[in-house]
């Protein structure tokens, strides 16, 4: 199954230079598009995959605690197995990307991390998902508490039919975080890089925002309640490239405070934002197929020296 990179490796944190290099190349593309010099498509077609040179200091995954650890996680809908036997650990304050072809269970896996699959009546989960050592599917665990700590941003922006302010404040009120409501709302919107754009129209309807702004509002809403983890299910797939790049920039800032897990069908996006990448693929069986975890490692490794042939096939574009 997946390889766990914590096996006996000591390293220090990623060098500042690598982070800066990544940001610079991304901004260069961003500016290029904004100035009209580059086609917007370029972002996706030509974006160079920034990779660390082998031998450069590695991520200190070994030093980090595992926020999530899944053991033998199987998710089925009714009789159909969707995701089989995943053993994966998600580490604190890193961005972990889940990539793979369509239908390989990436979203299903993601949703099993905050028990959103519970909302599907036919969904069944086997195995364990340990959150700081507790199985979130154990007895006595309340899904409401789980979701309080593990937030989610969805593929299509889904702001509530309320004002911008109330969108962020609603969760705070419901969860009893009503002290300094204004301050909390402002902080959340600032962290989502939206404050400046909306501070003069907080009472206006959220539907008046553009798609990219709505998605950042949904992000603000999620982080306002101070979760531990934020799950992002293809958060930029419904957005234009400029909005996408804004979200990607945000993730670099946000990971200082939160642990992020992002599902994306865009490999280059994973390469741009993720510290760790998990590659899932579809394993065909007589009854159809189900998703499996193929390889899980630091992002540069996955993209330059994948251990599994299937990973190599996917990241080099031979299939998927």
């Amino acid at each position: 199954m997946g390889r766990d990179p914590t096996q006996a490796r000591r390293a220090s944190s990623p060098p500042a230079g690598l982070e800066r290099a990544r940001r610079q190349s991304r901004h260069a593309l961003h500016d290029g598009i904004a100035s009209g010099a580059l086609e917007a498509d370029t972002m996706h077609a030509v974006a160079p995959i920034e990779i660390a040179q082998p031998g450069e200091a590695r991520l200190s995954a070994a030093n980090r605690e595992a926020v999530f650890e899944t053991r033998g996680l199987n998710v089925s809908y009714g009789k159909a197995l969707a995701v089989a036997s995943v053993d994966l650990s998600i580490y604190r304050n890193l961005v972990t990307a889940i990539i793979g072809p369509s239908g390989c269970g990436k979203s299903t896996f993601l949703r099993s991390l905050n028990r959103m699959n519970d909302l599907v009546p036919s969904a069944r989960v086997e195995g364990e998902v340990l959150y700081h050592g507790q199985n979130i599917y154990g007895d006595g665990v309340d899904p409401v508490e789980v979701r309080r700590r593990i937030g989610m941003v969805f593929q299509k922006p889904n702001p509530f039919p309320k004002s911008i302010y109330d969108n962020v404040a609603w969760g705070l009120r419901v969860l009893g975080m009503k002290d300094d409501l204004d301050g909390r709302v402002e902080r959340a919107l600032t962290q989502a890089a939206l404050w400046d754009e909306v501070k003069d129209r907080l009472k206006k309807s959220a539907f008046g925002l553009s798609g990219g702004q709505q998605q950042r509002l949904c992000l603000a809403r999620a982080i306002a309640v101070e979760p531990d983890v934020v799950l992002l299910d293809e958060p930029a797939s419904a957005l234009d490239p400029i909005a996408t790049s804004k979200i990607e920039d945000l993730m670099h800032e946000l990971k200082n405070d939160y642990t992020l897990v992002i599902v994306t069908h865009n490999m280059q996006q994973a390469a741009r934002v993720a510290d760790m990448t998990a590659f899932f693929t579809l394993e065909r069986t007589e009854s159809g197929g189900h998703g499996v975890l193929v390889e899980y490692d630091e992002t540069p490794k996955i993209f330059t020296q994948p251990a599994d042939k299937r990973t190599e096939g996917y990241v080099t574009g031979r299939f998927g």
Binding site: N114, M116, L119, P121, V144, E145, V146, R147, R148, R149, G151, M152, F154, K156, N158, P159, F160, P161, K162, W170, G171, V174, L175, S205, F207, G208, C218, R221, A222, V225
Partner: protein, 325 residues
């Protein structure tokens, strides 16, 4: 001829006679259907016109003072609508007061809570309640509900809540309270099935967005579903109100044909509609008939206003949801 012919029919092979027959058929169908639609519109106008026409002698004799006068005295030819308007208002508003929260609760149950398999079954059962003919419900009201109110519910309410003017007076087997209960039974199925459809239309991603924040199901209902469907629920409630206002038969069977304006729910009374049903065979003089139909005219105006309000809200709501805010 050329402007009307579609490209597809202008192949030279078709005989012109057939084309003429077709065009004739087209015109006939168009005219026929148009005439039917026009007839429907004319019907509505005719209803309004005719009612006011029959009521005219009373309108010209009593004028608008009719609306504020009490009493219905055939011997002295003194008729007034106030008692009836009061009865209509009290019975309909009280019935609405009970039925609206009940309907919303039932709508929520059917859209969110009920086990999947049972959902359509229970929804159908609630809708069946609407199919019960009002005269049968009235019959049950007179012979079953009435005595229950008179002998059990009424005295209980009187004993514990008698200090409130509403429950003052002697409980009987007929009266405003029985009428309110019967009207509630009539309103709930209509309003709750509309609410159920409205709640089902709330986009799943909005619901999931709320739940993903760590809200409970009820908090999600309160914060997302109810605000989202606010306008539609309002329209449904108004429609229910319209139904209550217009119900003649079941109300006249249980309300006891009383006079005057009383605060007590145990008193007998009458509504605009029930008075019409009660007096349908007693109007002898022309002025009496005209006065009766004057009541019908008032009822018609109220009913039209209520109905139009509900319909326009529904249409604006639907337009808003598809056209963006």
């Amino acid at each position: 001829m050329s402007a009307r012919v579609d490209a597809v029919t202008s192949t030279p092979a078709l005989p012109s006679r057939r084309r003429l027959g077709d065009r004739f058929g087209d015109v006939v169908l168009h005219v026929l259907t148009g005439a039917a639609a026009a007839a429907a519109v004319a019907l509505l106008i005719a209803i309004g016109w005719k009612i006011f026409d029959i009521a005219h002698p009373a309108i010209s004799k009593f004028g608008l003072a009719f609306i504020t006068r009490q009493g219905w005295d055939a011997t002295h030819i003194r008729f007034g609508a106030l008692d009836l308007i009061w009865g209509t208002a009290v019975t309909s508003f009280l019935a609405l007061l009970i039925a609206a929260p009940l309907s919303i609760a039932i709508g929520l149950y059917l859209s969110e809570l009920a086990p999947r398999g049972a959902r359509t079954v229970i929804a159908s059962l609630v809708e069946l309640l609407a199919a019960i003919p009002s005269v049968v419900l009235g019959l049950w009201g007179i012979l079953v509900l009435g005595p229950f109110v008179g002998k059990d519910l009424g005295p209980w309410l009187h004993r514990y809540l008698g200090f409130i003017p509403l429950f003052d007076g002697t409980p009987q087997n007929a009266g405003i309270l029985v009428a309110v209960l019967v009207l509630t039974i009539m309103i709930v199925p209509i309003t709750s099935s509309i609410c159920r459809e409205l709640f089902l239309e709330v986009p799943a991603e909005l619901e999931q967005g709320a739940l993903a924040l760590g809200a409970t199901r009820w908090e999600m209902v309160r914060g997302v579903i109810l605000p989202y469907t606010r306008t539609g629920v309002g329209a449904a409630v108004i429609l229910g109100f319209g139904r209550a206002v217009g119900e003649a038969i079941a109300v006249t069977q249980v309300i006891g044909a009383g006079y005057g304006i009383h605060w007590s729910l145990f008193a007998t009374g009458d509504t605009l509609a029930s008075k019409l049903a009660e007096q349908y065979d007693s109007a002898t003089t022309k002025i009496q008939t005209a006065s009766l139909v004057y009541l019908a005219a008032i009822l018609l105006v109220i009913s039209l206003l209520v109905n139009l309000a509900a319909q326009l809200i529904v249409r604006r709501f639907a337009h808003q949801r598809t056209g963006g805010s």
